[in-house]
């Protein structure tokens, strides 16, 4: 198995694990962490697949996308955490319950 495939398959594994945690856990902090794990998996797949060039230099386009993607993911996480704090301040719990949807 090539290194590219190993990294890419690890990325899909991270994505699947993150999706599982996102569905199973009710606590919003765990959901935010799960989405971050999913994002890391996607970044890993993108970077790995960019390395399938014949030379030593990988494809720079996916690398550039991942660099900006990481910073955007961090800022989106910060927004999600601020929303989480507001939900906790408003309802007293850090979960989306059935009642709070009404």
């Amino acid at each position: 198995m090539s290194t590219v495939l190993l990294y890419a398959l690890t990325g899909t594994g991270l994505f699947t694990l993150g999706l599982y945690a996102l569905i199973v856990h009710a606590h919003l902090l765990r959901k935010i962490l799960a989405i971050n794990v999913m994002g890391s998996g996607v970044f890993l797949v993108l970077v790995a697949l960019g390395g399938r060039t014949s030379g030593a230099v990988p494809d720079p386009v996916p690398h550039a996308m991942v660099i900006t993607g990481i910073v955007v993911a961090v800022s989106a996480t910060a927004l999600a955490l601020a929303l989480l704090l507001r939900v906790q301040a408003a309802t007293g719990r850090a979960e989306l319950t059935e009642e709070s949807r009404e």
């Binding site: 090539s2 495939l5 890419a8 398959l9 899909t12 594994g13 994505f15 699947t16 999706l19 599982y20 569905i23 199973v24 797949v45 697949l49 960019g50 399938r52 060039t53 014949s54 030379g55 230099v57 990988p58 494809d59 720079p60 386009v61 996916p62 690398h63 550039a64 996308m65 660099i67 900006t68 990481i70 910073v71 955007v72 961090v74 800022s75 989106a76 910060a78 927004l79 955490l81 601020a82 929303l83 704090l85 507001r86």
Partner: protein, 229 residues
């Protein structure tokens, strides 16, 4: 529903979920395995156009030149995320816990080195791994350490000075792009001789904005501005 029935439904849901996710992972893995071993992608096109890009690092060339429009919009995303956080409430001026003396001492030594490091990463991005986003992240880390090691954030700087720095990156990017629209006839189409200098100018502004935006996100709310209290 009885307790046993509820537990049974819970387990059923769990196992159906695991099976579905395993099926999805299998499908994704199959898709990856069926990809060709060699895929040049866009690296050849980047390689042939490197001469005109004004920098020697292909990643920086893609970020700031070939796909500069994407990077411009990503700067806007950063700013919108910060506006979202600010719209949710104000940040506390004073920290609830006192900073530890060891942390303050450490940050006092680390912060200048990190700022220097950010400057180095920004400069080296023209011909080696590095650039505005990496430098901005290091700058943000320095800012967050400074926020953690001080009892309150500098209220005096939270008015217009903060807002100017936040808008600097997106502003410089847009202004340069608009000027080039009239000079060379295309948005962000650098004239061949000036590309390197313009990219460095945009990157320097973007580094400051990215660093300060990420550090401001850490405050978790709109900082209060006004005279020093």
């Amino acid at each position: 529903m009885s307790v046993a029935g509820r537990r049974w439904r819970f387990l059923l849901f769990r196992w159906v979920l695991i099976l579905l996710l395993l099926a999805m992972a299998g499908g994704l893995g199959y898709a990856l395995l069926s990809l060709p071993d060699q895929a040049i992608g866009l690296s050849e096109q980047v390689g042939t156009n490197m001469e005109t890009s004004g920098v020697q690092n292909p990643v920086t060339a893609v970020l700031l030149n070939f796909r500069g429009y994407d990077t411009l919009l990503e700067m806007a995303v950063l700013l919108v995320a910060l506006l979202g956080v600010w719209s949710l409430g104000a940040a506390e001026v004073h920290r609830k816990v006192d900073p530890e003396p060891v942390l303050s001492l450490l940050v006092g030594g680390l912060a200048p080195v990190m700022i220097l490091m950010a400057g180095y990463l920004l400069w080296v991005g023209a011909n080696a791994p590095g650039g505005a986003f990496q430098a901005g992240s290091v700058l943000a880390a320095a800012g967050i350490l400074l926020l953690l090691s001080s009892k309150r954030y500098p209220v005096r700087l939270m008015g217009w000075p903060l807002r100017v720095v936040l808008l600097l990156g997106l502003g410089a990017f847009t202004v340069v792009g608009m000027i080039l629209l009239f000079v060379s006839g295309g948005f962000l189409q650098y004239p061949s001789g000036l590309a390197g200098a313009l990219i460095l100018f945009i990157e320097a502004a973007a580094t400051l904005s990215i660093g300060v935006t990420l550090a401001a996100l850490f405050l978790g709310g709109r900082p209060q501005s006004g005279p020093y209290r």
